[in-house]
């Protein structure tokens, strides 16, 4: 059974839905209040899948659920619209993960809920 906690995040994780505030700030993930101007009026937008790496690391010691995937890279990505998000890097050489590199966000499996549990999906970044 899919947990409500997981379902709530599907629009953001599967479709990169964000809220654009009337002040121009892109809020990803969505919020009830814009932290920049305190407005509560937003327009729903879909982020593009193109972005660049602002900073990154290569995780060599992970928590238990990701321990079989080490070493893997995680980066903060800025999308074309200026939204910033944290994403794992997939299908790329670790040596190619650098600040300023262009990436494409793709729909991927992220983790499992428990040993034989639900597959959990979202976005990962591929260095282009």
């Amino acid at each position: 059974m899919i947990s409500p906690r997981y379902v709530r995040e599907i629009p953001q994780r599967y479709r990169l839905e964000a809220l654009k505030c009337k002040c121009g700030k892109i809020n990803f993930p969505p919020r009830l209040v814009c932290p920049s101007c305190k407005s509560r009026e937003f327009e729903t937008i879909t982020l593009s899948d193109e972005g660049k790496i602002l900073t990154y690391t290569i995780i060599r010691v992970a928590s238990d659920i990701f321990s079989r995937e080490t070493p893997y890279a995680v980066a903060i990505i800025e999308t074309k619209e200026g939204a910033k998000l944290t994403a794992m890097i997939a299908d790329s050489n670790l040596e190619d993960v650098k600040i300023g590199k262009k990436v494409r966000l793709e729909f991927r499996k992220i983790q499992d809920e428990g040993v034989s549990g639900l597959h959990c999906y979202g976005y990962k970044a591929i260095v282009t």
Binding site: I59, R60, V61, E69, V74, L85, T86, G122
Partner: protein, 383 residues
């Protein structure tokens, strides 16, 4: 608001305390503090702890500790702000006394991290669960991203990061309560296992069990108990976005600069007036960034400053982490902020032994939570 003094302290040794439970650890530190301060009762108590629920499966920790300390029915309050829980507990105890609500107050902190929990996962709950941790980041990983940004922007080097660890281990060597009393070299750090690039194992603070406590009272009552007391001249706090990705800059911590600005104003001091500082070196890069955001060194020069010995006990204009810091003394998360206050207190009352900073009059303690989403700064002055 009335003036407040710190009149005594107690702590356990920091390390892997296999034979002691979280209750034993908190009670031992608190009894030491009560005895050291010479008080015969307390009016209220604050317990800083990040996550006793995840680490040992025990919540309702404030009531547990009041009970086992033999202090029930005094009001006992749990303060949680991730790794800043201890510093925040101190600040709440300060406000309790300053407001006139209570007279003798205990501020304690504790964490029992070596009882079998998935420590990396437990610590990661201080970050955004759905958008950072879900995507595989860890705490060393978050600070590693800060480090890579700092290296990219200011040409900070791995050697400069290592210099923080070397200095703090040298200081911790002279601290009998420190977890790792071993001198290390730049090469020891650079040759240690990589945890999250560019942070090596010895760039990271350890997993630690430990407890620490101090006693506060109105300044005008302090001499009734002891001749070793210090005055709290600033106590401030600030917050920032929980996710690192939300910040405008990854090389500055706004909660730190914001709390610092307010603290200097409250104490009517400048950064150059501070004689020593305990800062939150959960990772070597955090000491570098924080030493800049506190105004001790120019932005981008924190790495160079530690390399040049500007924060060493012997040669520095501002000795930083004379206790050994989180790096060498250990980082039992909830106890850390209180242990920082204890080091400043010991320095200002001339009890720091081989770590003693000469003519220390004013000391600052900076404690932060998560990747800098919360920060508290307390400044103490010798009387």
């Amino acid at each position: 608001m009335r003036d407040v003094a710190v009149i005594g302290f107690g702590m356990t040794k920091f390390g892997e305390l296999w034979n002691k439970s979280i209750k034993d650890i908190f009670v031992e530190a608190s009894l030491n503090a009560i005895e050291n301060a010479g008080v015969d009762h307390i009016d209220s108590m604050y317990v800083g702890a990040m996550s006793s629920g995840l680490f040992v499966g025990q919540e309702h920790i404030a009531a547990v500790m009041a009970d086992y300390l033999g202090m029930a029915p005094v009001p006992s309050t749990h303060i949680e702000s991730a790794c800043a829980s201890g510093g925040m507990a101190f600040r709440q105890a300060y406000l309790d006394v300053a407001s006139g609500n209570s007279e003798i107050v205990l501020a304690g902190g504790v964490e029992k991290m070596n009882d079998g929990a998935d420590v990396t996962a437990a610590l990661a709950t201080a970050a955004d669960q759905e958008y950072e941790v879900y995507n595989g980041i860890t705490f060393p990983g978050l600070y590693a991203m800060i480090a890579n940004a700092h290296m990219h922007e200011f040409k900070t080097t791995s050697k400069q990061l290592a210099a923080v660890a070397v200095k703090n281990h040298l200081n911790g060597f002279n601290n009998p309560n420190a977890q790792f009393r071993s001198k290390i070299t730049i090469d020891t750090v650079l040759n240690s296992t990589m945890v999250a690039d560019p942070l090596h194992l010895l760039d990271c603070s350890p997993v630690t069990d430990g407890g620490a406590a101090v006693i506060l009272c109105p300044l005008n009552m302090a001499k009734n108990f002891t001749d070793k007391f210090v005055k709290v001249i600033a106590s401030t706090q600030a917050s920032d976005s929980i996710a690192l990705s939300e910040r405008k800059s990854f090389t500055s911590l706004n909660a730190v600069s914001n709390a610092a600005e307010k603290a200097y104003k409250q104490a009517n001091l400048k950064p150059t007036d501070i004689d020593l500082a305990e800062v939150h070196d959960c990772f070597t890069i955090s000491e570098i960034v924080v030493s800049e955001d506190l105004g001790f060194f120019n932005k981008g020069k924190g790495g160079l400053a530690v390399e040049e010995g500007r924060s060493s006990i012997e040669t520095g204009e501002i000795p930083i982490n004379t206790s050994g810091g989180l790096k060498s003394k250990g980082h039992p998360v909830g106890a850390t902020g209180i242990a920082q206050i204890i080091e400043v207190y010991e320095q200002l009352t001339g009890q720091a032994g081989k770590r003693q900073v000469k003519n220390a009059r004013v000391g600052l303690a900076q404690n932060m939570g998560g990747s800098g989403a919360s920060c508290t700064i307390n400044i103490l002055e010798a009387i």
